[in-house]
Symmetry: C2
């Protein structure tokens, strides 16, 4: 273990192990939830948290329990709780300005906005993508990307400089074609792209996310169901991926020019940490290019250094970049990167809203980019991820009935495995809390690891020890 790792530098006072002073959901938590529940929906709440006493990789609950946190606010805490570098940014005059004078960025950007973007989000832009649109959440980012795709698609059909027809202008006010065309975004089975009305129509992870909500009748393509470890099942996996690619091409053809974009996650996260190989994604890029369909890569959960590269799709070695890459979560800021000029609508006020993002979040994102670079956290996540994966692989060998389909090798700390079934998985998540680890699930019966970027070998050791304690119980 390195002596001066990032987490040690940040958090000299981080505890050496979890500290449990009450059962999970102790009396103060229960009382808090009851009272909060009068005015606010708490039925998805796991804990009530004392963030001021959370530190680094440890989250503190209302009862004073300190849990090792490998869920990190649904994968959205980048540098640990109360990171001193981010605290300095939060105290800065720029932040105070951004909070009290929140601008409508589309109409009245600040004199600092360009510098904040260039030194922050743009300094971490995926290779080949040199422009940005900012938003507020992952769903918002994806929907803005979808809007850009639809506007782009119609621009190619209509031709540049051609005005809208009267029929378009009249019909769109009635929500009808041709002004509101029946175009589509294609997503994959088990995908998750958000919960607003457009993004939810591309989400396919779980019925409970979608039931009772009207949806656009957009198509889905099958996503490869690979055998793990991926490298031990090359022939099977290639066949599976080729079948999915053929289906994708067929659906695009069948939809006859009405699919504006394909959206895909590098690793399907909410849907169960489903992986595909670089070959699959290279072919998706190739098919979309051939068929004149845009490719949107949704890096809301995979982005910002968690997978051992800054962006997960960098590992695909694409010959040409995705058309848009969306981000949120660990960046606190949200939005999408792009390259093509035509993804910026020809007329103003089409990609637009009151705030168009939030400088206070972009300032934090700038700090995150700086820390990731200064502390070389991409390399750290890759290194710690390998270390953790190897230890978990040993556990899998030892407890094959409790852990299978371990996955995420070479993908940083973005690691998951399957429990035998949903009940066993849910019990495991509870049992882990009883030994001091906050951990999350995904898909039908998977366990996913989403630690911060300052998760080290010493934390991995504690995690593996805790899992073994639960398995051997």
């Amino acid at each position: 273990m390195p002596d001066k790792s990032a987490a040690t530098l940040y958090f000299p006072d981080e505890p050496v192990q979890p500290r449990l002073v009450s059962p999970f959901r102790g009396p103060k938590t229960v009382k808090s939830l009851e009272s909060l529940g009068e005015i606010y929906d708490t039925r998805a709440a796991y804990m009530v948290c004392d963030y001021q006493h959370s530190i680094g990789n440890y989250i503190c609950d209302a009862d004073g329990n300190l849990y090792l946190d490998v869920y990190a606010q649904i994968a959205s805490i980048p540098l640990g709780y109360n990171n001193p570098a981010l605290i300095e940014i939060a105290k800065s005059p720029e932040m105070i300005d951004a909070i009290v004078n929140r601008p409508a960025l589309g109409n009245f950007p600040s004199t600092e906005w360009e510098q904040i973007l260039r030194e922050g989000l743009m300094a971490a832009a995926p290779p080949g993508l040199d422009k940005i649109w900012t938003a507020l959440s992952g769903s918002d980012a994806n929907e803005c990307a979808y809007k850009a795709a639809f506007i782009y698609h119609r621009l190619q059909q209509r031709g540049k400089g051609v005005d809208f027809s009267d029929a378009e202008k009249t019909s769109t006010m009635l929500n009808s074609a041709p002004g509101s065309p029946d175009l589509a975004i294609l997503s994959f089975e088990k995908a998750f792209h958000g919960r607003l009305f457009g993004s939810l129509s591309t989400t396919r992870s779980n019925p409970i996310h979608k039931l009772d909500i009207p949806a656009f009748k957009w198509p889905k393509a099958p996503f490869p169901a690979l055998k793990y470890p991926i490298e031990d099942h090359e022939e099977y996996n290639r066949k599976e991926e080729d079948a999915c690619l053929a289906a994708l091409a067929k659906i695009i053809d069948e939809w006859n020019g009405t699919i504006a974009a394909v959206v895909v996650e590098p690793i399907q996260s909410e849907g169960g940490d489903n992986h595909a190989t670089p070959y699959f994604f290279q072919q998706v890029r190739e098919i979309t290019k051939q068929k004149g369909v845009l490719l949107i890569v949704d890096e809301v959960q995979t982005g910002v250094a968690a997978t051992g590269t800054f962006w997960a799709h960098e590992q695909w070695q694409l010959p040409s970049p995705p058309d848009m890459v969306t981000f949120s979560k660990k960046f606190q800021a949200a939005g999408f990167f792009y390259e093509l000029d035509d993804l910026r609508p020809q007329q103003p006020f089409r990609q637009f809203n009151t705030w168009c993002g939030d400088p206070s979040k972009a300032l934090i994102a700038r700090g995150i980019v700086k820390e990731v670079k200064d502390k070389d956290l991409v390399a750290q996540t890759a290194r710690v991820g390998d270390y953790l994966y190897n230890a978990l692989a040993e556990l899998q060998t030892k407890y094959p009935a409790k852990m299978s389909n371990l996955r995420g090798k070479g993908r940083g700390t973005f690691i998951a495995w399957d429990a035998p079934d949903v009940d066993a998985r849910n019990q495991f998540l509870l049992d882990m809390k009883a030994v001091g680890v906050n951990i999350g699930g995904c898909g039908a019966h998977s366990v996913r690891l989403r630690p911060t970027l300052v998760f080290e070998e010493k934390h991995a050791d504690l995690l593996v020890k805790a899992i073994e304690a639960v398995f051997s119980k």
Copy 2:
């Protein structure tokens, strides 16, 4: 003019009038926009702003011009630029915690979250609405309200405690009925409710907001086109409103139980500051009640004290409250208030997303509520609004060819009028900048006033003087 008005208290150093040192869009602004434009869409940008040198009701641009600002970031700056009370909140330990430890509120709310809500947003909840869901923007708030409405609608049909059918669970993964039912939200002509896919389907303000974007085929009802001043055309206006109400009732019947909610703005803002009388809204409430349709009042732009009451719909004196009231903009935080238990889905993870709002914005909202109460800014806005309206009414009499349909009497500073046509309106907005006033338009050819809540009689005097200078040019 009172000696110790709110703005005087806040901003002893506010300038006494605009200060122009270069033409509108001077050399530094032009250079800034060119450079920012390489990476970020600037084609809707009016100015580049120096927020650190903006103060109170004055906005400073990159060239050092100080404009009296009666647009206030599209109606979203509540208490003036660099308000000292908000600066204190921005510096507070709670704010720093909220920024560096942003929680996933649905899963891991903080120990302080209840208090922040109760002392802040809930302390300003509309009468009768005692629960809240938090979001990130006006569009997001409206879409969350729409989701609540659809889930509620299906719950009433399905019955409580009845599980989803297999057909529902299967079909929703295909975006099809019965799981993804073809239900609708009804909105009004010229309405604006946002720009995400669901909210955009209820927006009817301008084709440019909607063109090329697929839409749900949801219906619209006519919104009254009243004659102003409203009180001088009672008979005409009542007839117009009755016709619209009859049309509304007819459309709901024709849609045969598939309309989950009606959404309406108290004053249609983007669509042209179109007013209706309390009678109209009372009848809308009555019709929706009778027909078992929910009523969502969109107070994203009208809310938070601008209209002379905290919420504009308080002026309707409804016998029973709206089912949901949405908010954003001046509150910085966003979301919706509600009363009915059934608007909270029976199962967790249906109304849900990663962040479910943002405590840093809720902290600012708490500060805004406190300042509005402490400084009695609702009364101030009502008083200053009356003062301003009367002065503008005189101008209208003097310049009838340049200003007509003055409206917003008794609605605080939420005042608008019509220019002769779109070109005259746009020229007027530019001419006003040339005399030092930042002012906005709406609808086809209207001018709208959206000053902050710390706008005083002395600012109204400057504004009226500037308008007259432009009119008499």
